[in-house]
């Protein structure tokens, strides 16, 4: 029974856009795509926070850089996703490498603050790029092309996003069980002991940070396509806070924590926005209730057998 949950969920996710189209609710296909993209970005952050034990407060920077990577290349005529998306990932990974090299020398609240500082620096840097839209953001002329697949239709883009998300979640599972994942678990619990055992702790944490940054860059590349533009707000600190909130809400260190957090948070926003002008009041109260009564997030409430 347990083994069937994941394939069934995946099948339902594949069927969703066709169902929406058949019932005349195509609008929600884009909404679902957006949720999955945020889920991917939050999953990437969960790798750093939940698996690597590093509370990073600047993840939106890598998310936003991925978006700008695609948008800037598009402005220069590069429309192929086969080139632009890997380039966006590389840009985000490179930024994460630089930020990580400096930040990982600090601990605890200082790590939180220094990652925040670097993210804000990148935010202001992007803001100053007047040739690339400045504070208005940089629109995309079209979606990227991913021959032979069709990204032009909302359903096509939804399915590609779903495939990327599913692949990332599968990779996360492999990674958690790998030697690298075991080493991260050791570092999370007792960093000094890992060093005494001879592990290159700094390098392992840096690798974790860079992988998380790279995946966030991929999410950003998808976001630019979904949104039709790269906006500086994607890099602002409240966006980093939002991603962190998704991770904590869903479940820190749980493989589906980031996705659950994105689905619940964005879903709640959408539902409340339908009935009131003051949706954020409800969202805030809900978050406060979760952190008060479910300290391990929503995933922590799932039956024991379903946890990693």
């Amino acid at each position: 029974m347990k083994k069937l949950v994941e394939p069934l969920l995946l099948a339902a996710a594949v069927a969703l856009p066709f169902l929406l189209a058949a019932t005349g609710n195509e609008f929600y296909t884009g909404m679902a795509t957006r949720v999955m993209i945020f889920g991917l970005a939050a999953t990437a952050l969960n790798l750093i926070v939940g698996y690597g034990g590093m509370v990073a407060f600047g993840h939106a920077a890598f998310f936003g850089l991925g978006a700008y990577g695609v948008a800037i290349l598009m402005q220069h005529g590069v429309t192929s996703a086969w080139i632009a998306w890997p380039a966006a990932v590389a840009l985000a990974a490179l930024a994460a490498l630089g930020v990580g090299l400096v930040s990982l020398r600090t601990r605890g609240v200082y790590f939180i603050m220094i990652t925040l500082a670097f993210a804000q620096m990148l935010y202001y840097l992007v803001l100053s790029l007047k040739n690339y839209g400045g504070d208005d953001g940089l629109p995309l002329a079209n979606r990227s092309t991913l021959a032979p697949l069709d990204l032009g239709s909302d359903t096509g883009f939804y399915l590609v996003t779903l495939a990327v998300l599913a692949a990332a979640l599968f990779a996360m599972k492999r990674l958690a069980a790998s030697r690298f994942g075991s080493a991260l678990a050791g570092i999370r619990q007792n960093e000094t002991r890992m060093e005494a055992l001879g592990y290159p702790v700094f390098g392992l944490k840096l690798a974790c940070f860079v992988i998380g940054g790279a995946v966030a860059g991929l999410a950003g590349a998808l976001m630019a396509n979904q949104h039709g533009m790269a906006s500086p707000n994607l890099l602002y600190w409240t966006q980093s806070g939002m991603l962190l909130v998704m991770v904590i809400l869903g479940g820190v260190g749980h493989r589906y924590g980031g996705l659950i957090g994105a689905v619940v948070l964005l879903g709640l926003e959408e539902v409340l926005a339908g009935v009131t002008d003051h949706a954020n009041l409800g969202v805030g109260l809900f978050l406060l209730a979760v952190v008060s009564f479910a300290p391990r997030g929503i995933a922590g409430l799932l039956p024991k057998g379903s946890r990693e």
């Binding site: 939180i112 100053s128 962190l244 805030g284 008060s292």
Partner: protein, 304 residues
């Protein structure tokens, strides 16, 4: 040129002192309760709205400020008693989630009460003009802000350095368990610190209201600067918060004013006017990263 620098330096001093009003409360809450309070900026926003509403109703700027201080001290006390004290012993992640939720709630409440449009808050009539100092004209209202800021800084210094309560606060910042062992009623002390922090935020919000827009989201921008300040100064240190505030306030203001000009001498004017403001903003964060890199505990570490 030198007059421009002097004027901008005064503006920087004024901004730095207002930052200090925010940072003082934030650094105590962070240093003593080990609490990351992202909603500190919402207290500042609340202060600005209270002041604007009371000033509009009464027609008096002074009444506005007093109402803001009293109102936010009350709000801060209630917030501490009802919500925040339950999170002191929780991990930083839970604190981030809870206080982020408070930002959402505060922004929405303000929008419900006062609407989505920015509010007007006018400086008092008597101070709307410039005064002459050192041979040039400077807005009287900004001088008032500097004066109030200096007075509050002096008050805080005396409070922390010379009084029994201040001794508890310093002991608490250096070592929390020690304070509890000394038999101080820690819970009451925490509530009082929080109410004081909220009142200081209200002063800053009310005073900056006429210069900046009183609008939803105004707390988020300044909150991060306040965090930068306390990390530079050393978490838990009032003196560090003052030095950090002035560094950030003057650095940011002078950078914004002078960097475009300086850049123009090495690059085209278009590049300079684009890059200048960004570089000035980045400067502050770079300063913080550099301080953390070389002095990981900040300039004035509170913990021994």
């Amino acid at each position: 040129m030198s007059q421009l620098i002097l004027e901008q330096a005064l503006n920087g001093l004024q901004f730095g002192l207002m930052l200090f009003l925010l940072a003082a409360g934030l650094t105590l809450v962070f240093g003593i309760m080990d609490m990351i309070n992202l909603s500190h900026g919402s207290l500042y926003m609340g202060g600005a709205y209270f002041a604007a509403a009371a000033a509009q109703a009464s027609g008096s700027f002074a009444v506005g400020i007093l109402a803001a201080v009293a109102g936010m001290a009350l709000v801060g006390t209630l917030l501490e008693l009802a919500v925040l004290r339950h999170f002191y012993k929780r991990d930083h992640l839970s604190q981030v989630l809870a206080t982020f939720a408070l930002i959402l709630i505060a922004n929405e409440l303000v929008r419900m009460v006062w609407g989505p449009q920015p509010m007007m808050l006018n400086p008092p009539e008597a101070l709307s003009g410039p005064v002459e100092i050192l041979g040039f004209f400077y807005p009287a209202y900004r001088l008032l802000i500097i004066g109030v800021g200096l007075a509050v800084a002096l008050f805080l210094y005396l409070l922390v350095a010379k009084t029994r309560v201040g001794m508890w606060v310093r002991a608490g910042a250096a070592n929390r368990e020690m304070t509890e062992a000394m038999g101080v009623n820690v819970r009451r002390l925490f509530t009082a610190i929080f109410a004081l922090g909220a009142a200081l935020c209200a002063i800053a919000g009310a005073l900056l209201g006429p210069l900046l827009a009183v609008q939803v989201g105004m707390g988020e921008n300044i909150l991060i600067l306040a965090f930068v300040v306390i990390v530079i100064g050393g978490i838990g240190s009032i003196r560090g918060a003052l030095v950090g505030s002035l560094l950030v306030g003057v650095g940011d203001t002078l950078g914004r004013a002078l960097l475009p000009t300086l850049l123009r001498s090495v690059a085209s004017s278009e590049v300079a006017s684009n890059l200048g403001p960004a570089l000035a903003s980045i400067l502050i964060y770079a300063l913080m990263a550099a301080v953390l890199f070389w002095k990981p505990q900040g300039l004035f570490p509170a913990r021994g």
